[in-house]
């Protein structure tokens, strides 16, 4: 049995990596992937607490989160594809037309 602390530390590390990817990378696809890492970090939390407490509802949430993540990835890829088609780039610091 792996202690809970390790799982939480792994989850926190994943979250930090994801956060870094979201905040610092320019490529939209990378940012999308980083969001997946963020989601997976939180899902790992759910699973860890579920196995720790013996309550299976955390695992249900994990499954739900995976489904949402899949949907999110699909929508996100579609948005970036569309942006690419209209603006010719998916560099996020160039995609800044939603402003005053």
């Amino acid at each position: 049995m792996i202690p809970l602390q390790y799982e939480l530390l792994l989850s926190a590390a994943l979250f930090c990596i994801g956060l870094y990817g979201v905040l610092a990378r320019r490529n939209g696809i990378i940012v999308l992937m980083s969001i997946e890492i963020l989601l997976n970090a939180s899902i790992l939390n759910f699973v860890a607490f579920s196995s720790y407490s013996g309550n299976p509802s955390g695992q249900v949430f994990a499954l739900l989160g995976i489904a949402v993540a899949a949907a999110e990835a699909a929508v996100g890829l579609a948005v970036f594809l569309s942006i690419y088609q209209t603006h010719g780039t998916i560099e996020l610091d160039k995609v800044r037309f939603l402003k005053w």
Partner: protein, 694 residues
């Protein structure tokens, strides 16, 4: 009871309808609607005769016809039984007056067809005379004082319009204004009387007031007939409100005839006759208002002499007749006053009442209507021929105008009071009654002397007029000619009445029975008359003859040149005084100019300085407040609104700078925000956990 009593409405409505039709579309008719008006008036005459004959046949002669009211619609609603209705009263007096007025109006309208033939504005003339006739017919048939006043005022309006018929002549416009304003003085008194009557009795109908007169106190019983008489003084041109009538000669001669013979001035006599319900109360035990009676008799007696004296020196043919009218109306009021006095003393003594004076006055009204219409219309025919009013430019007109000269002679004889012409009977009756009244009140002997002297002057000026116009040789220019037949025809009829109207009453056992005032004037004429009355009649006839002889010697065979009188010392002053009309017009003018204009100036000053000052000050104050309010509005209220909006714009400007479109910078804000929130929520617990807490 009168059969078909509703026809009396038509007597009024026919001339009223003619007024509307001719007034609106008179131009489309021949003679400017003259025939329409004549036709309507003929209809009124026929209906009046129809009513009159019924009144006579149902006991009017014996005096037992019960006055009948033809009730009309409610004009002013009030407590039931107290409403003011437009109704028509039919009794002996009103039915006779209806016939008299419609007959004379008809003749005058027919005469107008010739006289006004060449005038401009005929529709206006015919419409107005028709309304005038409506006014008089309504006045004499009114059943209450208010209705009487309304028609009375309609006549006042029409007299104004017709006297000023040639409104482009300044004298005519001024005369119209004068007639309107002077009669207005009397009308106000009349109105006051009507208000008092309403206040005291709660009704204005003659027949309802008469039995209740006893309810009045003595002062009001004197005041009401005096106020009513005030109205009559204005309308009938008695002293001191006589000044409008001579000036009213500026209108067409037919209008003068209408005013003098049939309408207007006769309304005053009629009103005073109606006010006998106050002068001679029917209720037993009521002290009659002798003061009011004496005032009426005195003003009548004075005016008759006063006006006759002015007629003597005037050279305007129409003005002589105008003064003559004032004088003859004075006779009527004298007769009414003396008659009321005799009746009142009889009543208070409880002896059988002798209403001779009342009937004599109305008898004179009746006769005067015919001969004065005759005189005016003949004068009109003369003026038509010679184109001037000045008698000094006439003379010798008998030859070219045989009909006019003869009918005017009839008129002059009637006016002078020579038997068997009509004026003799009624004037003699009035003088006899005045003499009889002297037995109880010696003042009436003085009034009798006035009346007798006037009879002399009347005969003198009447024949002075006739001799100057028709005697001698022609002094003017042009070629006088007889009037057309449409004008001479009414003259001939009127001449017949000037002879006959005096005799007409005798087959009816005296005129008194005809106009019956609740007490029959009994007795067959010439029987039962006191012996001295024959002496009085002879005396009035004698002075009249004397006047004619004097006029004849002065103007027909110039034995006594008039200049001898005019230039004699002392007489010159009198002559001047008479030609200046006793300076009364001048005095009234001066009063008008100084007092009224002075008061008006004072009021004008007050208006400009005080009233306008207040108004302007208020206005200026308002403006100042408005300026302050404007400043406050602009600076404070607008300032606040603008400041709020400006600040909003500025804030929004600053805020939208933060929206860069850089998604990752938003993410940064979110992360930082979450961290900050985390520390805010859990910071304290973390510090306690790791540093041991307090």
């Amino acid at each position: 009871m009168i059969a078909n009593a509703w026809v009396v409405w038509l007597i009024l409505l026919l001339p009223l309808g003619a007024f509307l039709v001719v007034g609106l579309i008179g131009r489309r008719f021949r003679e400017g609607g003259g025939y329409v008006v004549v036709g309507a008036m003929a209809g009124s005459l026929v209906l009046s005769l129809y009513v009159f004959v019924q009144v006579l046949s149902q006991g009017g002669l014996g005096g037992s016809f019960a006055p009948q009211t033809v009730t009309g619609y409610i004009w002013l609603p009030s407590i039931p039984g107290n409403e003011i209705r437009i109704s028509i009263l039919i009794d002996n007096l009103s039915s006779l007056m209806l016939v008299l007025v419609s007959f004379l109006c008809l003749l005058i309208f027919i005469y107008s067809l010739g006289y006004m033939h060449e005038e401009e504005g005929k529709p206006r003339y015919y419409a107005e005379v028709s309304l005038f006739a409506t006014g008089m017919l309504g006045t004499v048939s009114a059943d209450n004082f208010l209705q009487l006043l309304i028609f009375w005022e309609i006549m006042g309006l029409c007299s104004y319009l017709l006297i000023g018929f040639w409104y482009h002549k300044p004298e005519a416009a001024a005369a119209a204004k004068k007639a309107f304003l002077v009669t207005r003085v009397g009308d106000v008194l009349f109105l006051v009387a009507v208000l008092i009557i309403w206040n005291e009795f709660g009704t204005l109908r003659f027949n309802e007031i008469a039995p209740r007169v006893g309810l009045l106190n003595g002062q009001l019983l004197t005041l009401i007939p005096l106020l009513l008489f005030g109205g009559a003084v204005g309308k009938s041109a008695q002293f001191p409100l006589h000044t409008w009538l001579p000036d009213a000669m500026e209108g067409p001669t037919t209008v003068s005839a209408l005013i003098h013979a049939a309408t207007m001035v006769k309304a005053g006599v009629y009103l005073t006759a109606r006010s006998f319900i106050f002068l001679v109360p029917l209720a037993p035990g009521v002290e009659p208002p002798f003061t009011a009676i004496l005032v009426i008799a005195a003003i009548g007696g004075f005016t008759t002499l006063f006006a006759a004296s002015m007629a003597v020196v005037n050279n305007d043919i129409k003005r002589v007749l105008a003064f003559s009218t004032i004088s003859q109306l004075g006779y009527m009021f004298l007769g009414l006053g003396a008659g009321a006095f005799v009746m009142a003393t009889d009543t208070s003594r409880g002896v059988e009442v002798n209403s001779a004076g009342y009937s004599a006055a109305l008898y004179h009204l009746f006769n005067h209507a015919f001969f004065k219409a005759l005189l005016f219309l003949s004068a009109g025919s003369v003026i038509h021929a010679v184109d001037t009013n000045n008698m000094r430019e006439m003379g010798g007109l008998s030859a070219p105008m045989p009909v006019t000269s003869r009918v005017m002679l009839f008129g002059a004889l009637a006016l002078a009071g020579i038997p068997p012409f009509s004026g003799f009977f009624s004037k003699g009756d009035i003088l006899s009654v005045t003499f009889d009244a002297g037995a109880d009140q010696p003042g009436f002997y003085l009034l009798y002397a006035f009346g007798l002297l006037t009879a002399f002057l009347t005969a003198f000026y009447a024949f002075r007029l006739w001799f100057l116009t028709f005697g001698g040789s022609y002094r003017g220019h042009g070629h006088p000619h007889e009037a057309p037949r449409v004008m001479t025809f009414p003259l001939l009829i009127l001449a017949g009445f000037a002879v006959g109207s005096g005799l007409l009453a005798y087959p009816m056992q005296g005129f008194g029975n005809l106009i019956f005032f609740g007490r029959p004037d009994t007795g067959f004429p010439l029987v039962g008359i006191p012996w001295w009355h024959y002496g009085l009649e002879a005396m009035s006839m004698g002075v009249a003859g004397l006047g004619i002889v004097l006029a004849w010697s002065m103007y027909a065979v110039p034995q006594v040149p008039p200049e001898r009188f005019a230039k004699a010392p002392g007489a010159a002053f009198i002559h001047r005084m008479l030609t200046k009309r006793y300076w009364i017009d001048d005095v009234y003018d001066a009063i008008g100019r100084t007092v009224i204009v002075g008061v008006a100036r004072g009021l004008d000053w007050f208006d400009r300085n005080v009233v306008d000052g207040i108004v302007n000050a208020v206005g200026r104050g308002g403006m100042r407040v408005a300026v302050q309010s404007d400043v406050f509005d602009r600076r404070v209220i607008d300032g606040a609104v603008n400041a709020v909006s400006l600040e909003t714009i500025r804030t929004s400007w600053r805020l939208r700078q933060r929206q860069s479109g850089q998604v990752q910078s938003y993410a940064w804000v979110i992360v930082v925000g979450i961290v900050v929130l985390f520390f805010l929520m859990f910071g304290q617990r973390l510090v306690e956990r790791f540093f041991g807490g307090p």
